[in-house]
């Protein structure tokens, strides 16, 4: 029970970070926090239900998170070459 609340708070913190950080890499880090909250939930339920599939899912999420980080950073670096900044508040060519 405590772990669910803990994970919820962690998720909320990550969400807050994703909503307010300006640096794209910092947003990526906040998203990692959210994913970790999910993993924590899954590990707890897996333990609680004595069911291995939750742990397996965590492994897959970690792998997917790694792939996501690689791709995200590639996109960010590519963006940096064009804009010379990675501040998402200033990357607003496309709007309305």
């Amino acid at each position: 029970m405590e772990i669910i609340v803990l994970s919820l708070i962690l998720f909320g913190i990550g969400l807050f970070g994703a909503l307010t950080r300006k640096n794209a890499i910092a947003i990526l880090m906040a998203i990692e926090l959210m994913l970790n909250a999910v993993n924590l939930n899954l590990a707890y339920f897996s333990h609680n239900l004595s069911n291995i599939s939750g742990q397996v899912f965590v492994l897959f999420i970690i792998a997917a998170a790694a792939a996501e980080a690689v791709i995200g950073l590639a996109i960010i670096i590519n963006l940096y070459r064009e804009f010379h900044k990675i501040d998402v508040e200033e990357i607003t060519l496309l709007k309305w």
Partner: protein
Amino acid sequence: MIFYFLAVTLILSAILVVTLKNIFHCALFLIVAILAIAGLYFHLQAPFLGVVQLIIYIGAIMVLILFAIMLTSRISDRLLQTASRQSIPALLAVIVFILLALKSLDKTPLPAHIGKNFDPILDLGRALMTAYVLPFEVVSLLLLVALVGAIALARKD
């Protein structure tokens, strides 16, 4: 006891990750948070997850992030502007979100702990090699996409 220590560490470092001005410090506290979570995995009798967490998150993802930070920020502008235009609405929305979730959680009876024991490493390995073999193949595809795509996108032409 150890649980509360890990929990407090986790929350504090997570808050620091999303509020600190220096992005390097953020990354360092993210490492602390990840370590705390690894500790929680051990606490939840999932040692394999803990190890994987250490190896992949710290060994791969965090290293990548630190590299990216160094590639994209000059020393002069390593400090982030923290005051986002929408800090206050975001804070309110997130708090309402958490409160609503807590209220739902309060009203929901969770399945009780079953207490059947399983061998965390042996069973995990067996599951991965039998029932989960298809997802296992698919996730390798995902990693291939990341590899090929990231190289193609990030290299200078």
